[in-house]
Amino acid sequence: MLTKRIIPCLDVTAGRVVKGVNFVGLRDAGDPVEIARRYDLQGADELTFLDITATSDGRDLILHIIEDVASQVFIPLTVGGGVRAVGDVRRLLNAGADKVSMNSSAVANPDLVSDAAAYYGSQCIVVAIDAKKTDSGSWEVFTHGGRTATGMDVVTWAGEVAKRGAGEILLTSMNRDGSKDGFDLELTAAVSDAVSVPVIASGGVGNLQHLVDGITKGHADAVLAASIFHYGEFTVKQAKEYMASQGIPVRI
């Protein structure tokens, strides 16, 4: 049976892993290669690196980090942040990324999704969507690290990128990110039920039951978390054992 994936997420800037709350207030969480190796040993199914660097100087660093990680860690690596053109996709894949995630640039230029998928295959194109709940109960797509409202509906946009060839959707609830209150399950289920590609739930994990809920109630194919792993609250192995005890198929 296909197992549900647990994906630790590493936000990287200036060569270090950091973690913020509601997209601001960064704390240092350590060396990316060291952290990647630790999660691999704990049984992580995949790793996601988000380059949250604002400068182009810092941006080149992520290529070296991915090269280092890819030579030592043999599980799938997804890299996102600052991907603006098909050439950026190529550079990241050449550095050792298996999948490349795009967010703001996909909204600005949806053809980027179609072009990258046509050239490199859907399997390596992930579209990340940052979602914020609206007063009317739906969700709006935000870009630029959550600073720019787009007026676009999240479920509609998810369907559009899937149609354009995105192989996977990384769905982050901005309201829950860093809150430790659990995933926005309504949002996760709405998107997961609407698209035919796998959905990764992200934003808000504070305990292991939240991971279970993301799968059982959010219908996610994979769950992503950062802080519960970075600060040693739980290991990936503990998370998987708990999920298995709740009847979720995981690779142990």
């Binding site: 049976m1 691999d40 043999f74 599980i75 490199y120 390596c124 996977e168 799968i215 194919d221």
Partner: protein, 219 residues
């Protein structure tokens, strides 16, 4: 020192396959092969593949490596991975959009076809819909004993990303199967050829073990 040639016909990224072989065989000459000579002088050949089948077949033909690869397939240990596995078969249902034929012709080294998952309307045991591509870690049932399975427990999980799968004509060629909606063939073995639908280079410990087994395999 033996040379392991990873066939580079210009489709996608071979770095992770290269890194994994480098890791399990530090004493071998692991080579990303771009010339027929590099394939012909190697002791072992790896055929990776990603992207769409029509592009893979076209690039392989245009690369000038096709003949050397077919020669190697006669007697050298050959390992196909993902689309590299599918390419070994007769034909694939993955066609160029607008193509007239219903099949893309492949290498014809193992009898059988390549088909797409048709899972619309089917539900997973937890009630959710099956998604295509089949993406993630899934178990592989070892259908026959083979040196490449050595030291890998039956039903170990490997990493998959694909929308098409092979359907071998001969039961004997099936080395492993995986369940996704239905059982499909996830590994094949025939004489000096072994191939996997999953990505050993992304499958942690047991994936590396399979590559290590390939490095010392004497078919």
């Amino acid at each position: 020192m033996q040379t392991i040639a990873i066939v580079d016909y210009g489709m996608g990224n071979l770095r992770s396959v290269y890194q994994a072989f480098h890791h399990v065989a530090p004493d071998a000459n692991v080579l990303i092969a771009r010339t027929p000579e590099e394939i012909m002088t190697a002791q072992r050949v790896v055929l990776p593949g990603q992207g769409a089948m029509p592009d893979c077949m076209r690039h392989l033909k245009e690369s000038g490596l096709l003949h050397a690869l077919l020669e190697a397939a006669k007697n050298k240990p050959l390992l196909g991975v993902c689309v590299g596995e599918q390419m070994l078969f007769d034909q694939s249902a993955e066609i160029r959009s607008g193509a007239h034929s219903t099949w893309t012709k492949c290498l014809g080294l193992i009898p059988g076809d390549v088909r797409r998952f048709e899972l619309a309307g089917k539900l997973q045991p937890d009630g959710s819909a099956y998604k295509v591509p089949h993406m993630g870690w899934n178990q592989v049932r070892q259908d026959k004993k083979h040196p490449l399975w050595e030291g890998i427990p039956d039903l170990s999980s490997f990493y998959f990303v694909h929308s098409y799968y092979v359907t071998p004509q001969n039961q004997d060629d099936i080395a492993g199967s995986t369940e996704y909606g239905d059982w499909f063939t996830s590994a094949v073995a025939r004489d000096n050829i072994f191939a996997t639908q999953f990505h050993p280079e992304k499958s942690a410990e047991y994936g590396l073990k399979l590559y290590k087994n390939f490095v010392s395999w004497q078919p």
